[in-house]
Symmetry: C2
Subunit: 492 residues, 2 copies
């Protein structure tokens, strides 16, 4: 398989699809809309999981596991949530196959094994979890409940794309229960902040924190907080959401507690999640025409060593030094792969690790042994230099930090350069067409205006940003009074 | 809720069910046969996962993720495997709900959203994975493939019990592909050995390694290796299995590779798994009438500190020392909870931590402060002693090792005392009735005899043990010649 990719400038979407497959991250499966996450892609996801899990636990959350299936009667209990997911859910109706009497090599659904009540494969778990919390919560002493679940969910999307939109995906979903509105809102904001910190510090993806408009919020939520990122092609991507659910699910499932004064009250809820979609954000924030570019904190291997040799003797000589370097780096806490396969040539390996985004590549040959050097290549800048072997460990430690920072600042500079303030709808349309990115504009606050702008431009309100100045102005579409700019964009 | 449990001697099964629920490990859900794994139970499962995952990676395996759904045509491709699971699988037939025209508060399955091909919720993933491997394998250079998946699976069991048999459960499933029969068999045995070491060293569960008989092996396997454990009530429990799948799945999915001589060959396969069933084995190996007993290596908290006080002043004084002890222990790598809740009395806390199997409990009150001591209680033996505060860390480090070993040796002594060699069918039946446990008996090797013994006694062949002497004898049932004893038992 050729390692070269379609250029981003030619066809960004094609570039993305090719990169995901060629870098061995994921591929389409035999199941419509479902992907196979390949070992290299999964290794990155495991790093995401480990970091998030640590942050959840440090803030007092515990993991648990709830059923995959949601009985239809529970699914429909919270009306808005049900409405939001009804059109895209996989439904289990039978529990047995039997031999096809017309062709005994085939199986057919056994019509006698029909379920009394259909089961929905969870698109999200509020319903099943709140029907459980009902039994866990009696008194204020049982609150708060701070639970997270790592799980697969299914949403029957019609147009799917690897990582970005798949029928089945992996995610985490936090579900918390609180005694007061205030505490639940604080939890919602706290988890959105954790997502933002994680995205920026670990994935090197700059994000804007904010709230969703009425029409973009989660089905069943009172308020949805989110982090929004900007991809290289000028489209936005929602990277995580945190929902203040009010008492909606407590009402739907009759979850009440006795407060300190002995009175019965409905419980307050939050839920929050990020998914394998983050892998798409990662790719479209940092990668280039040569392939993936990985921030060192997420790279399954931070350094790869490729030996250069023409004879067995040279191979032995080079390998000895390469292994010493590997050990030194590993002792310094750096993950290093020594690729000593003789089935592939150095040039093939170079291209492979560029494609897979390994942050640093060491090449070492007989000349390097003579000179006490190695050739060190940096993936993000595609620059090379010779480095003395004795200075290598410190050099690499520093470079890994530098690359992590540099990726973030480069992405942030791009993002900031692509937030455009506009004050007329004409400029709005021109900017969207010629430049893309986030458009910062006044909006009159109505769903009607938002819908009209969407119909005319395909841009939606990505968020009402958190850190923004109050500024009196006029809605870019209707001219009605507005007190704050919001961010519009076309989005993934 | 009362903390006292039914005694094991009264009703073992009832004791088990009560313990699982009261110790906050798991509970039944609103979905028939599916459980909720509660945070405390899930924390233990996370320790199991982390340890196994480490061992898999150390032996060269990588994690990946394959789809939850298996299209029916793939599901039925390997005939025996399909036959084995057809009667217990959940089937997705539709992908959309719609508003019930007769009651708009309800949803019904939209008959227009019927899938062209039904999807089976994976009961195991050989089919979906081997249909994927077909595209990954062309040459001997692509082999071996050593992949593991952590996932949920669904088997529509009619009689379910928490952890032991549930419609949905969590597990890991390894799926490897090899160039030779020999290499695949070696992998199968290696993974069974890893399960055995893990069960014994980490879970303190003694296991017998062996192979399954023809009728007990995995549907689609040529040979199933297993580890078998013995529960306190004399019933066996299959704790893990590793299957040599021969070329069955390669044939079914046409997976061939070009060998070093340039010829096409079918690929050899293995699969291996352990599940949340291990939680059941853990409980029924170590626990007692007071509740769970956890090996220190698996305990979410190894030590709990309970303060004893009658006034705020005493609480302050005791807390100060308790926190110092907590810090010291944590610095020594021990996990410690300081339960300073004022909503519960010490006696309640003692019972709670006994029920939850925390290996060591420290109680500290004003008298202890005076004397420079603490009261240290050991969960497994229910013994208590006073220990000088300055000796506490070393004492506890030693005790945690001692408890881990002691639990294993106690369980092993019980297991060994409950393997009975019998040479007549009369003794077979008597032993099974009066004593239970493993019955070591000669067997003529036929499925027919095995089935008859099962019909008459409900005992099955748990395994043909690996470490056993060749011994000529006569089948306990038919009198036909036999060269080795096998282990029979009633089983979970």
């Amino acid at each position: 398989m050729s390692k070269s990719l379609t250029k981003r400038s030619e066809d960004y979407s094609k570039w993305y699809n090719e990169l995901v497959v060629k870098a061995d991250l994921a591929e389409n499966s035999a199941v419509r809309g479902s992907m196979v996450i390949k070992p290299y892609g999964y290794a990155i996801w495991e790093k995401v999981q480990a970091q998030l899990d640590k942050r959840f636990k440090e803030t007092g959350h515990q993991n648990a596991y709830f059923p995959l299936f949601v009985p239809k009667s529970l699914f429909e209990a919270e009306e808005k949530n049900a409405e939001g997911f009804a059109k895209e859910c996989a439904i289990v109706t039978h529990y047995r196959l039997k031999t096809d009497p017309e062709d005994t090599s085939k199986l057919i659904v056994d019509p006698e094994a029909k379920l009394e009540e259909e089961l929905i494969v969870r698109p999200t778990s509020e319903a099943i979890i709140w029907s459980t919390y009902k039994n866990w919560i009696q008194s204020y002493r049982d609150l708060p409940i701070l639970i997270n679940q790592w799980a697969n969910v299914v949403r029957w999307e019609m147009r799917t794309r690897l990582f970005l939109r798949t029928a089945e995906f992996l995610w985490q979903e936090g579900h918390t229960a609180h005694a007061t509105r205030q505490e639940a809102i604080e939890e919602t904001v706290k988890m959105n902040n954790i997502y933002a910190e994680f995205a920026e510090e670990f994935m090197a993806i700059p994000v804007i924190k904010g709230r969703k408009s009425e029409s973009e919020k989660f089905a069943g939520a009172e308020e949805t907080y989110c982090i929004e990122a900007l991809m290289q092609d000028g489209k936005a991507l929602q990277a995580g959401t945190s929902h203040f659910l009010g008492q909606n699910f407590a009402k739907a499932f009759d979850v009440k507690f006795t407060n300190q004064e002995g009175k019965q009250e409905l419980v307050w809820a939050t839920s929050w999640g990020v998914s394998t979609r983050l892998m798409g954000a990662l790719i479209m924030t940092h990668s280039d025409d040569k392939g993936l570019v990985l921030p060192p904190k997420l790279a399954p291997q931070q350094v790869v060593i490729v030996p250069i040799y023409r004879s067995n003797e040279q191979f032995e000589e080079v390998s000895k030094v390469a292994k010493e370097i590997q050990t030194k780096l590993q002792n310094a806490g750096i993950s290093v792969k020594f690729d000593d396969r003789d089935t592939h040539k150095p040039g093939w390996k170079f291209a492979q690790y560029e494609l897979q985004g390994v942050p640093l590549r060491i090449a070492i040959g007989p000349k390097d042994i003579e000179n006490g050097t190695v050739e060190l290549a940096r993936r993000d800048t595609l620059t090379k230099e010779f480095v003395a072997q004795e200075e290598l460990t410190i050099k690499i430690q520093n470079l890994l930090v530098e690359i992590q920072d540099s990726l973030f600042f480069k992405a942030k500079a791009f993002r900031d350069a692509n937030i455009t303030e506009v004050d007329t709808f004409d400029d709005f349309k021109k900017t969207l067409k010629n430049k893309g990115g986030f458009i910062s504009a006044h909006w009159d606050g109505t769903t009607e205006t938002e819908q009209k702008i969407k119909e005319l431009t395909k841009a939606t309100i990505r968020c009402i940003p958190e850190n923004t100045k109050n500024e009196l102005g006029k809605c870019v579409f209707t001219g009605a009074a507005s007190q704050q700019r919001v961010l519009f964009a076309k989005a993934y």
